[in-house]
Subunit: 126 residues, 2 copies
């Protein structure tokens, strides 16, 4: 965490939603925790492309916003588990919908990447 210098405008719902799930790995974390992957080490194995550092940071934010709850067992070696709160569960339909839309759009997406520079339509008459 560091101090933000550009004040964020949270007047519309969209900006809040993005603040909550806008991190690179947050939706993945929510999904994984929901599927029963609860411990940090397990989450790290599940997302090898993400550094542990970032996963920790994003879990911390999710916890701060009440999306996940963290349970620390006072044992050694340490044991920690994350669970979705009610708020976190209420995000699941949204996360699912975003995942599904992206999957459906995937084919078009790759095509649009090929011809990235198409000319705009110019209407000659109107």
């Amino acid at each position: 965490m560091y101090e933000k210098k550009i004040p964020k405008d949270f007047s519309c719902g969209m900006s809040i939603t993005f603040e909550i799930i806008g991190g690179k790995w947050k939706p993945c974390l929510i999904d994984s925790i929901n599927r029963g992957v609860r411990r940090p080490s397990e989450l790290a194995k599940k997302h090898p492309l993400a550094s542990k550092r970032v996963l920790n940071l994003q879990l911390k934010e999710l916890e701060a916003y009440g999306v996940v709850r963290k349970i620390v067992y006072p044992v050694l070696p340490p044991k920690v588990e994350y669970f979705l709160t009610e708020v976190g569960e209420s995000l699941l339909p949204l996360v699912t919908m975003m995942e599904n839309w992206g999957s459906d759009f995937m084919d078009d997406f790759y095509k649009s990447q090929e011809n990235m520079h198409t000319d705009p339509i110019v209407k000659e008459q109107f």
Copy 2:
């Protein structure tokens, strides 16, 4: 546009969805265009907090991905209109859902910002 150096991983739908609507003003633009605000100058007036520069950039990306279609009328002063494509319209339920979720969560959100540093739960017995 500039060359990205960290290759993005578009293997899951979520990452694609974020690529499409992940910009700061993209959901706002999609929503506004859907509501009939089609011309760049109108969009700029509707979103005074955004610089025209960024709006242009994000409109360009939306166009490149086939979310909006740009129509240029060859007149002076210039006239341009943006419309949602089918793909763009298919995003509307998602955008609406994100907006609604954020609005519903808004109260909790402000509370969670007040006590941002809560202690994690420590289970003494398990």
